[in-house]
C-alpha cells in the first residue's frame, strides 16, 4: 500500500531471477505481467502478454548471489511514484501546455498537434542527458528469498 504509515518505508517487491552477477550489482530478470495478468482467463487471451525485463540492482555483497537464483527485488514505493511522474506525468503535462500554447499562437490544429508530439523529442533528449543522475536515483535492492518460502 502506498502509505499506510508514512513513518515506515514501504516497499514494492518483485520476484526475479538472477541472470548476471557483477562486482557491485546483480542483474535480475523480472517477468512483468500486463494489466490483464489479474485475469484468470489470461491463458486464453493474448492481451495478457508478459515481458521479461532485466534490471540492475545494487548489491554490495553481490558474491552472495549466483546466476539462476530466485531473488526478491525491492524498491521503495516512492521511487515508483517518481518513475511514473518522469515517464508519464511530466511529458503529458508538457504536451498539454504545448497544445495550449500553439493553439493560442497559431490557432491551427495541425501545428498544435504536431508540436505537442514533437515536444517530446527535446524532453526525451533532456532525459537522455540526465541518464546518470537517474541511474543513481532508481536503485533497487536484491534480497535473498527465504529458502522455505
Amino acid at each position: 500500500m502506498l502509505s499506510i504509515d508514512y513513518k515506515m518505508d514501504n516497499y514494492i517487491e518483485h520476484e526475479g531471477v538472477v541472470v548476471a552477477v557483477n562486482k557491485e550489482n546483480v542483474v535480475v530478470k523480472i517477468i512483468q505481467n500486463s494489466a490483464c495478468s489479474g485475469c484468470h482467463a489470461k491463458g486464453a487471451c493474448s492481451a495478457a502478454d508478459r515481458a521479461d525485463k532485466e534490471i540492475e540492482a545494487i548489491a554490495m555483497d553481490s558474491e552472495k548471489f549466483h546466476v539462476g537464483e530466485k531473488v526478491l527485488l525491492r524498491g521503495s514505493d516512492h521511487l515508483g511514484r517518481q518513475a511514473v511522474l518522469i515517464a508519464f506525468v511530466l511529458p503529458f503535462v508538457l504536451m498539454l501546455l504545448m497544445i495550449l500554447l500553439l493553439m493560442f499562437l497559431f490557432a491551427n490544429e495541425g501545428v498544435a498537434g504536431l508540436g505537442a508530439i514533437f515536444v517530446l523529442i527535446p524532453y526525451y533528449a533532456i532525459l537522455y542527458t540526465r541518464k546518470d543522475k537517474l541511474r543513481k536515483k532508481f536503485v533497487f535492492q536484491v534480497l535473498k528469498l527465504d529458502g522455505n518460502k
Binding site: L2, C39, V84, F140
Partner: protein
C-alpha cells in the same frame, strides 16, 4: 467553462468504466494496490493523450482529405499499437533505469478498448483538437478515479468473508454496478 464541462462529464457523469463500459479488463484485473491504480491512471492518461493527438492528426490530415475514413478502425488500432511500443523503446533507450523502475512498479499498459474507444469517440463527437485532448485526459482521470476507488474496495473485501459464489468477478461486477448507481447522482451536472 466548456473544458470544465467536458471534464466533469467524462470523469463523473459518463465515466469510462462505470457508464461507458470501456476498459473493463484492467478494471477487473488490476491489483488491489492503490499505487498501481494511480500509476495505471497516469500511464493511460499519457498514452491516451498521445494516441488521441496522433489519430486526430491522421484522421484530419490523411484519412479525411483522401476520403479514407472507412479505414479509421484499422489505422487507429495499428497506430495505437505501434505507439505504445514506441514509447517503450524510447524510454528504454533514453533512460534504462527509469524504464526498469516502471517495470517493477507497473503492469504493462496494454492497448485496451478505452484508448481506441476515445480515439474513435472524439471523431464521432466531432470535437476539436483541444477538446479531444481534454476529453482524453478527463477520460483517463475518470479511469484512474474508478480504479483507485475500486482498489480500496478490493483491499477491504479481501479482509472479509464473501459468499463463495460471489468471490472474484461476480463481486467485482456487483460492486462496479453499485458504484455506477452512485455515480448516477451526477447525472445532469454536465
Amino acid at each position: 467553462m466548456e473544458y470544465i464541462m467536458i471534464f466533469i462529464a467524462a470523469v463523473f457523469v459518463n465515466n469510462v468504466i462505470l457508464s461507458q463500459f470501456l476498459g473493463i479488463c484492467p478494471f477487473l484485473g488490476v491489483s488491489k494496490k492503490v499505487d498501481t491504480a494511480l500509476g495505471m491512471g497516469a500511464a493511460v492518461a499519457f498514452v491516451m493523450t498521445i494516441a488521441t493527438i496522433v489519430t486526430f492528426l491522421m484522421q484530419k490530415y490523411l484519412l479525411e482529405p483522401f476520403g479514407l475514413t472507412f479505414m479509421q478502425t484499422i489505422t487507429f488500432i495499428l497506430v495505437i499499437a505501434s505507439l505504445v511500443q514506441m514509447v517503450e523503446i524510447i524510454l528504454k533507450k533514453v533512460s534504462p533505469p527509469l524504464y526498469q523502475a516502471l517495470g517493477v512498479f507497473l503492469p504493462l499498459i496494454t492497448t485496451n478498448c478505452a484508448i481506441l474507444g476515445v480515439a474513435i469517440i472524439v471523431h464521432q463527437k466531432d470535437l476539436s483538437l483541444l477538446n479531444s485532448v481534454i476529453y482524453a485526459i478527463s477520460t483517463a482521470i475518470g479511469f484512474a478515479l474508478a480504479m483507485v476507488l475500486f482498489a480500496g474496495i478490493r483491499e477491504q473485501l479481501s479482509l472479509t468473508k464473501l459468499p463463495k459464489a460471489m468471490e472474484g468477478t461476480p463481486i467485482a461486477l456487483l460492486t462496479a454496478g453499485l458504484l455506477a448507481l452512485a455515480f448516477m447522482g451526477f447525472a445532469g451536472i454536465a
